[in-house]
Symmetry: C3
Subunit: 157 residues, 3 copies
């Protein structure tokens, strides 16, 4: 099972990733990434223009661990919750031990009064690699469709 | 095919379930469950607090059959329609003949005037069992993110 | 790989189709269809009533190529973008070399000011056929839930 990257394994990875976040198990979130990785949140416009910076930028797993710590500290009182809904992943390139895939996402925000709205949509541009029995992200670029992305985001995307 | 529970079979089950509801084939809906089952609709808050009751509670397939009959009777004139969109299922535990999985959902309500809004989001907490060539639900707990869930729901979730 | 139509191949087809549209690679969109095909966009109400016409109707791939050309010409300045999110496909009939399947969809519209709303929901009623290593659409009927569908649609569904 180590070698080959199949659609089934990618489906499982994507589902486990958002389950981790929506269950508020943020401490486990960095484990989806390789030690050396690229995690970036950007907008469609900036991505199209080739801007490298991003709203959020991390190139090691340790930076993701730090980010979770910061989120936990900032998170005084959370009035809303979120629900990630993923569309179907598309494998763009599959080299066997590493694959590139794209997965559309939708995040719904549920306010304390029960009202729900669309918080974000976009696409994950991923490079995944087999690491033992698991797949890990070598790269996840989160391209948000809207240019109005909350930079104080209370959760990872 | 009887024995093993695969991601592919779970995908097929989840898709067939919401197809049944969105096609308004409610009379076929109880057949997705075992005779002895647990079907419960609750809120994230009540679920977290460990409340057992739920907005809707049924522990036999017969109770689900009764519920469909009640919905059909109450349903004088339906002004809105609904569309279920499922995210990717995550298999949490797989014992071969029984598996636990979680699937995020989004229900959009389409009003008679054409306006659409988010009716509900949440996650299905399922226990599925192989029953002949089919998979059936031994348990489906529908955890709605919002605490504002319409208790007069005109359709199953 | 030519012959059999599996859920995995259908997932891949569906994901590739919406990726093509959301990447604005509309010129590649007709290639998802057989030369003789049926592509129709209609509403749930008209579909239920058995109306054949549809909002958009094409029965050859060439008509789809023409449609893309028309969209490109009309598309002076695009103020909004769109994101397709697909639910899980359900295989309704599988004859080996041809299969019928249904896939729920949600399209979110992202306005220039960053506001997002639900543009359309509905279901794809597809007949897919193995064509060499690919699957192609022999039929795609796009049934929109809302009767308020923009006939000047700036993108394919």
């Amino acid at each position: 099972m180590t070698g080959e990257i199949t659609l089934e394994r990618i489906l499982a990875l994507q589902a486990a990733y958002i389950r981790c976040i929506d269950h508020d198990e943020l401490e486990a979130w960095p484990d989806f990434f390789l030690d050396d990785c690229l995690y970036k949140v950007t907008t469609a416009e900036n991505y199209r223009l080739g801007y490298q910076s991003g709203i959020i930028y991390a190139d090691t797993k340790n930076m993701l661990i730090d980010r979770v710590a910061a989120l936990r500290q900032a998170n005084v009182y959370e009035k809303q919750s979120y629900r990630h809904i993923l569309g179907l992943p598309s494998i763009v390139k599959n080299g066997g031990a590493e694959a590139e895939c794209e997965t559309p996402f939708l995040v719904v925000r549920i306010m304390h009064d029960g009202q729900s709205d669309i918080f974000a949509t976009g696409v994950y541009l991923d490079a995944v690699r087999a690491a033992g029995n698991d797949l890990k992200f070598a790269q996840r670029i989160v391209v948000c469709d809207s240019s109005r992305v909350d930079t104080l985001m209370a959760l990872p995307l």
